[in-house]
Symmetry: C2
Amino acid sequence: MPTLYIAGPEVFLPDAAEVMGEKRRIAAGFGFAVTGPGPDENANPTTEVRTARGIYLKDRRMMLEAEYCLANITPFRGVSADVGTVFEIGFMIASGRRVWAYSNDPRPYGARVWSEWYRQEGPQAMAGADGLVIETYGLADNLMIDCGIAEHGGQVIRPEGPVADPDRDLAAYTSALELMAASL
Amino acid sequence: MPTLYIAGPEVFLPDAAEVMGEKRRIAAGFGFAVTGPGPDENANPTTEVRTARGIYLKDRRMMLEAEYCLANITPFRGVSADVGTVFEIGFMIASGRRVWAYSNDPRPYGARVWSEWYRQEGPQAMAGADGLVIETYGLADNLMIDCGIAEHGGQVIRPEGPVADPDRDLAAYTSALELMAASL
């Protein structure tokens, strides 16, 4: 049975246990044994760095127990994916694991930066008002994420249009699992 | 001569060549041979995914040529570090490289989320108005970044107070290099 690590910011949801439990059930239905993370990951945050270290070590162990990774790169508190998830994508790719990802935002990164960061629609340049270059490759997020995933045999799945609840929608997640299961 | 990969969002600055050149010069002064990235990384962005792939492969090669990594995790377009940089931190840690990081923002992640994402000062809870949990470990960013770096022998450096130009300030960068050079 192929082993899978499910990376994503669901750990921060108030209903994390339900959403993560549902993701595990769907993955099991496609034949994956899920190594982590646990649905109780962030249930009891404290201000102690010692606890943060414990979570890191546990997540690291669960990543290394998995052959595959499916990451939720839906924008989290801003224009890009959750950085904890992105750390895990880089970690898994360097560990020789095949990584897939999905986003519940249909837009490419560049369009998102224009509308959400610069609050501007219409004709767009290669740089914002602050002079910072905007990646306009049509990818879901920073090129290291999209290209890293593609280069090592994975795919990034996006919906065709907006979804009602991007924090919890599991349609793109399910499509990604279907593709993964078919490719193994 | 120890080899170093300098990860950070400086590639997106309009004066990327100057800032990245200066970072290379300072690193050389501490005895590091810098493998990348090049100061011309994002000078000619195009809409072609092929070019994005080329940048990924070049950055990947330069990462693997380096024994050490120093990453700039100053918040970029939001409350967290540039996701391209975070991908590289995870990649380098999994590749067995020691990674250091610095931020030009003195605040811990939790305080930043409260003031910049929820636009709220004063007493703060463990979750925002949207119910999403906020990591309040006092770390510079998501725990995977801070703890990953610490667990594998590196350190995260932050300034004592606000800096005038967080996109370009090199004081914390220089302090980090000093610590790195002393620890090798």
